[in-house]
């Protein structure tokens, strides 16, 4: 009896899968032809684009608030404009990301955006997409087989963190003598570039400051643990430079718990997360954080604009588009702080 039931269930599932597969295919084709016909429409009706775009997005992970925040904003905007936008996470696995891009190709997307887990692993599949006439945008890496790469100059970003820290050191300490801790994450190449930028700027702009500790911290817990222990080894650390906002939030908690918050203590970081901004506004140790493009919402809006521009066949000046970076301090934190 049981076996019979299982057999029926399995065959039902298989039929469903077959029909489902066909359905998806025909849908893909129809949307393809729809896109083609609307294309001709667009050329006849001029620049006002009424073309409905189908956009596919794959990011490394949705566990990062920047990606998740930006993706949900992009979806909102796409829905409001009548376009279709699907976003998925590849959970830092290249093979999964390749499958996702393949699925986007066969479902007839007009634009695909990839935030690569490993850019080299997806070059081939991106080429396939472009051969199929799909526009490809890469978020974060300088790839070859793309229409545009939206990238950060990480060494420049790191340099900005170091520069701001150096300015603070020279203001608060006579002769610029000060102990500095760097919370890094050299396991990731771009974050290593950031760290190098920080160290270069410190060496150039605050030559008397000494970096006494370099320890990894990618999130708040990591930042907290590392900072607590660094304070044991070097109680006189006054300035902390972090490669990202997570570590900076943890470092601030450690300094707070150790009663070290003072006028001459400062954390300098990147990401300008809401938590960092809240700490800046409350007069805690976070002094500056480099914002990249803007809040996750702004990032979503910026990316969405670029995707639509790509989908409508507009040209960009160069394949590599560098993202805007600017420092946020207590002075301008309020206008970027979006509450809890």
């Amino acid at each position: 009896m049981k076996r019979k039931f299982l057999a029926v269930l399995l065959s039902a599932l298989m039929t469903a899968a077959v029909f489902g597969g066909c359905g998806a295919n025909s849908q893909a084709q129809s949307s393809g032809t729809a896109a083609a016909s609307s294309n001709t429409e667009q050329t006849s009706s001029g620049s006002t684009s009424q073309k409905k775009l189908k956009i596919g997005v794959t990011v490394q992970s949705l566990s990062n608030q920047v990606w998740s925040g930006a993706c949900s904003r992009m979806k909102e905007l796409a829905e409001a404009a009548g376009n279709t936008l699907t976003y998925v996470s590849c959970d830092d696995t290249s093979s999964k990301q390749i499958e996702q891009i393949e699925n986007y190709i066969s479902s007839g997307c007009d634009v695909i955006m990839v935030n690569p887990s490993d850019p080299n692993a997806i070059e081939t599949v991106c080429k396939q997409a472009r051969d199929a006439g799909i526009k490809v945008m890469c978020w974060d890496n300088k790839m070859t087989n793309t229409d545009i790469n939206w990238i950060i100059d990480n060494e420049k970003l790191g340099y900005m963190i170091g520069e701001q820290a150096a300015k603070f050191i020279n203001e608060k300490f006579t002769d610029g003598k000060c102990e500095v801790a760097v919370l890094d994450y050299p396991q990731t190449q771009i974050l290593l570039e950031r760290e190098n930028g920080i160290l270069k700027a410190l060496k150039a702009k605050a030559p008397n400051a000494s970096v006494v500790a370099q320890q990894p911290a990618i999130d708040a817990t990591g930042g907290l643990d590392a900072m607590e222990t660094i304070l044991q080894a070097h109680p006189n650390v006054k300035v902390v430079c972090c490669i990202g906002g997570g570590g900076a939030v943890g470092a601030n908690e450690a300094l707070k718990a150790a009663n070290k918050i003072a006028d001459n203590v400062g954390i300098f970081a990147a990401d300008a997360t809401n938590e960092e901004l809240a700490a800046m506004l409350a007069g805690e140790a976070n002094r500056m954080s480099v914002m990249i493009t803007g809040t996750p919402k702004t990032i979503g809006e910026t990316v969405y604009k670029m995707l639509v521009k790509l989908g409508n066949g507009e040209k960009f000046e160069s394949q590599n588009v560098y993202r805007e970076i600017f420092p946020i301090t207590a002075d301008n934190a309020k206008q970027y702080y979006t509450g809890k």
Binding site: L62, A220, T221, A257
Partner: protein, 315 residues
């Protein structure tokens, strides 16, 4: 001679701890200061608390991969209750512990009644609850707790940080359950031979419910401390945490095939992880090297366990 070999076999983990202690004492002048020792204990407190539940699960030959996810999920819902709904902190903590125990119970229920491997059940709940945490938090951290709440993670009772006190209490309760109650003996019996235990009248299902519920509960307690320490409910808070906990338990000599292990040795395993991490930061060892050393230590500890079982070291 026989006695000595036996001693080394039983207490090897303490010897490793001692050697590490002496090594860091000689290489860093800051290591042996009282504030630093308290710092180590405070940093391992979450690991220690969660390791008690994991010890039980591994004792019966199971594994709990949902620990990190339980921490993340309840962190997010508690943060949501306290910050977005203004709930009283004690009520939030109560809900927290109930939910985490409940998730553990569901794990136990599935494992006991459907004979599903705990590896799969808890891996599935790991994914489910991680996803739910993202849905509730929309991927953004939730912060701004009442000051009294962060005291749990950052405060002191006299000179001793509160997380250390919580950890000590949990270890005492955990040790009491394991060594002084019938249930504790059942854990060993189940791990040794499940069929024999069932035939001798132990209600195996009930024991499994209890074990997984306790694992959930202790993960919950660890999560509260973590939430109060970082002062922010993060959707990545517990990611991968179960592996740290499993590492500590295995370091403590609890056999992955079940049936043998002592909680005192797990305490030592937890401390080794803390001392190692702290010492390497004090010496400013690069993070690449840190990874290598952590892997080597784990390999040594498990290797020792396996060599013992094969009888290569004869008592």
């Amino acid at each position: 001679m026989k006695k000595l070999v036996h001693l080394i076999k039983e207490e090897a983990i303490f010897i490793v701890l001692l050697v590490l202690f002496i090594f860091f004492m000689c290489t860093s002048d800051r290591f042996l200061s009282l504030p630093n020792l308290l710092n180590i204990a405070r940093q391992v407190s979450m690991l220690g608390i969660a390791s008690v539940g994991m010890t039980y699960v591994i004792l019966i030959g199971g594994i709990d991969l949902s620990t990190g996810s339980i921490i993340t999920f309840v962190n997010i819902i508690t943060a949501y209750f306290m910050v977005n709904m203004g709930m009283n902190m004690w009520a939030a903590i109560l809900i927290y512990l109930l939910v985490s125990t409940g998730i553990g119970f569901i794990n136990g229920f599935l494992v006991a009644n459907f004979n599903m491997p705990s590896l799969i059940v808890t891996f599935a709940s790991q994914i489910i609850f991680e996803g739910l945490a993202y849905i509730i938090s929309k991927g953004m951290p939730i912060f701004g707790f009442p000051a009294a709440f962060s005291e749990i993670g950052q405060g002191y009772l006299g000179p001793i940080p509160i997380p250390i006190i919580i950890m000590t209490v949990v270890f005492l309760i955990g040790g009491f359950i394991l060594n002084k109650t019938y249930f504790g003996r059942y854990f060993y019996a189940l791990g040794g031979n499940e069929t024999a235990s069932e035939l001798s009248g132990i209600r195996v299902k009930r024991v499994k419910y209890l074990i997984f519920s306790l694992s959930g509960l202790f993960a919950g307690v660890a999560g509260i401390v973590m939430l109060a320490r970082t002062n922010s409910g993060q959707p990545t808070a517990g990611k991968g945490y179960e592996f740290d906990v499993i590492t500590a338990v295995v370091l403590g000599g609890v056999s992955l095939s079940g049936g043998s292990g002592r909680l005192a040795n797990v305490v030592a395993g937890v401390l080794i992880m803390g001392v190692l991490k702290n010492g390497m930061v004090l010496l400013n060892i690069s993070s690449y090297v840190q990874m290598v050393v952590e892997g080597l230590i784990l390999l040594l500890a498990v290797g020792f366990d396996c060599v013992q079982k094969k009888g290569l070291i004869k008592a």
